[in-house]
């Protein structure tokens, strides 16, 4: 039997292929190219093999930045996920309040990241900012530009303000999709409020929460603009998260080789964590 092969369909894929090539594959390969070589400009390259990777993986600076990054992401997930669920639970379920709440919740998400950073910078300035001034008036010795703890506090607060809404909106959507019969059945079964949350709402929100955690993990792990505008990574290197450190290395010191190697390691860490997390959640799903 003769099978007629028609390869014309490939033509349809070409536009997407070109698009992806230019916005993802080509830049990524450039980075790969840099990561194995040394350059002093003028398009002169020398082969370095895996030297930059070894250097980055062994450097204390990278370890410190990675540690700060995990700590930051851990803290904001720990705050934003429960807080987001809590706010979603308390939001009205019908009437005009729904749209009011939804609009108010979406507001922080619509503000450009550098504006968020600038807003919080001014807001938190110890002498003139509303937050900074009030805290100092209340007797706290607060100065985010000079004290590590204050810088962290402000950065975390800013991120919570900026991104908790996302968790709220996703959780709210998950909650709204629960059939009223579930609540009615629980009422008849004599379930407590906690039991309703534990056995109905939380399991039904599992999928949206998986998405929320993944998105918040990726976004916070790659955070750059807001802390850059707010603290610039300071005081010292106290809030220099991975991407801030990376930019310092690439553009500040013009160490393109190590920076490229660091980018790739960074990229693989994000990919790995997402993959592991997603598979854990999905395996759980299959078991049930």
């Amino acid at each position: 039997m003769n099978k007629t092969e028609n390869q014309k369909a490939w033509l349809f894929v070409i536009p997407v292929f070109i698009l992806v090539a230019f916005n993802a594959a080509v830049p990524l390969m450039t980075v790969v190219n840099y990561s194995f070589q040394e350059t002093f400009g003028n398009n002169v390259f020398t082969w370095e093999g895996t030297r930059w990777f070894k250097q980055i993986l062994q450097s204390d600076r990278f370890h410190a930045a990675l540690g700060r990054q995990f700590l930051f992401t851990g803290i904001i997930l720990f705050i934003q996920i429960p807080l987001g669920i809590f706010i979603a639970l308390t939001m009205p379920k019908e009437g005009i309040g729904v749209s009011v709440c939804l609009v108010l919740m979406s507001m922080p998400l619509l503000i450009p990241w550098n504006v968020v950073g600038a807003m919080w910078n001014i807001f938190a300035l110890p002498e003139i900012g509303f937050l900074g001034h009030t805290l100092n008036d209340l007797g706290f010795d607060y100065n985010f530009t000079q004290q590590t703890g204050d810088a962290w506090f402000t950065t975390v607060l800013m991120d919570v303000w900026h991104w908790t809404s996302l968790v709220v909106l996703l959780s709210y959507a998950g909650l709204r999709s629960i059939q009223p019969a579930y609540y009615q059945a629980a009422e008849i079964d004599g379930a407590s409020r906690w039991a309703v949350f534990r056995y109905i709402e939380l399991p039904k929100m599992k999928k949206v929460l998986t998405i929320a955690i993944l998105l918040r993990f990726m976004d916070s792990f790659m955070i750059y603009t807001e802390p850059f505008v707010l603290t610039g990574g300071g005081p010292g290197n106290a809030t220099a998260f991975l991407s801030i450190d990376l930019v310092k290395m690439a553009l500040g010191q013009f160490d393109l080789g190590p920076a490229a190697a660091m980018s790739l390691i960074y990229f693989f860490i994000v990919l790995l964590v997402c993959w592991v997390f997603y598979n854990l959640m999905m395996r759980n799903e299959e078991q049930s």
């Binding site: 059939q179 009615q184 079964d189 004599g190 056995y199």
Partner: protein, 354 residues
């Protein structure tokens, strides 16, 4: 265990009610005797579920009272009323095992583990869930899940009433029959009041001793299946129960006698009143026969269903369906139809005239 009384119950989902259609329930008065098996029958949107939710306490009525053994429980919660309700779609607690699902209502009421274990095993045995007790409930099929819902409703032994809101919608037809007989059997065993909501007349008529028929938020008739069939109090009951439903034909009423197309029709009940905006005669297809005199009609179509023949005829006032045994010869062309007086009723403004 108690007698349930509904007094002048009305409910509306709107804040303001301008016309009858704004009410989901209107002036419902009903007594449910202790230990009875009742069915609440009516088409979708007639207010069955609203009525059920008011009895269970999930909904507060706009007007009227709910009494359990003459005690006013209108403002009490479902837990205080101590009732069980099973919903149309299976409600299960996904993360729990089948066992924990069944034990949940008992645990919430603080029963001892030994007592819980005994009850759960008994119910699981009755619903044939024993083998799956240790499985996660979310892995079950739709009818397995609905069995769990049923089980959670039945597991408490002291409830005042068990209510079923179209519980067999998602169940396979062959299992439907099994589960329905099981419920019936269960009713005889535990002798507890059961209210079964359905839009399926077969389900209602096979399950219940007393059937309550609802139409547009009102109760149009309460009675045994035989009563509903033989003497519908409202044209809706005639239509809704029976297959095919009752023939309803416009008629003229003069001096206490009714006539269709100028032919006088004698009815079971005396016609004392005639002051209606609409008068009709109702007769079931089963009780019409072909005769040498009566209402002249033309035969349009004969369909054989195996056991019966359904004959569509046309008279001047409208179409009349006739049901006859499939072995009977059916005349063709023009015929005369005669109605069995015992099962012929006159209706004024849709309600029976008696």
């Amino acid at each position: 265990m108690s007698k349930i009384t509904l007094r002048d119950l009305s409910h509306s989902y709107l804040d303001k009610q301008n016309s009858n259609s704004d009410w989901a329930l209107r002036d419902v008065n009903l007594d449910w005797q202790d230990g009875g098996a009742y069915a609440l029958l009516g088409p979708s949107g007639c207010g069955k579920t609203t009525l059920l939710n008011i009895i269970s306490g999930l909904l507060n009525p706009t007007k009227g009272k709910v009494l359990f053994d003459e005690k006013d429980v209108t403002t009490q919660s479902p837990v205080e009323r101590n009732i069980a309700q099973i919903f149309q779609f299976p409600v299960i607690y996904d993360t729990m095992t089948v066992y924990d699902n069944l034990a949940f209502p008992l645990k919430n009421r603080g029963m001892t583990d030994a007592e819980i274990d005994r009850r759960v095993k008994e119910i699981a045995d009755m619903l044939e869930l024993t083998k799956t007790l240790k499985n996660r409930a979310s892995g079950l099929t739709a009818d397995g899940k609905q069995k769990i819902s049923l089980g959670r409703g039945l597991v408490r032994s002291n409830v005042n009433v068990i209510m079923f809101d179209e519980p067999l919608t998602v169940i396979d037809p062959h299992l439907k029959w099994v589960l329905r007989s099981k419920l019936k059997e269960l009713h005889q065993k535990i002798n507890r009041t059961m209210i079964y909501v359905t839009h399926d007349q077969t389900e209602a008529l096979t399950f219940a001793d007393q059937v309550v028929v609802m139409h547009e938020g009102q109760i149009v008739q309460t009675g045994t299946p035989v009563e509903l069939f033989e003497k519908p109090k409202h044209t809706f009951v005639g239509h809704f129960i029976g297959s095919p439903g009752m023939n309803i034909l416009p008629c003229q009423i003069k001096n206490g006698s009714a006539a269709i197309d100028g032919v006088e029709i004698s009815t079971n009940t005396k016609i004392k009143e005639s002051n209606f905006s609409k008068t009709e005669i109702g007769i079931r297809p089963e009780f019409i026969s072909f005769d040498t005199k009566g209402i002249p009609a033309k035969i349009l179509k004969v369909s054989n269903t195996g056991r019966h023949k359904i004959i569509d005829t046309q008279c001047n006032s409208g179409k009349i369906k006739v049901l006859s045994h499939s072995s009977k010869e059916i005349p063709s062309g023009s015929v005369f139809l005669s109605f069995n007086k015992k099962y012929t009723y006159a209706y004024g403004d849709s309600w029976i005239i008696e």
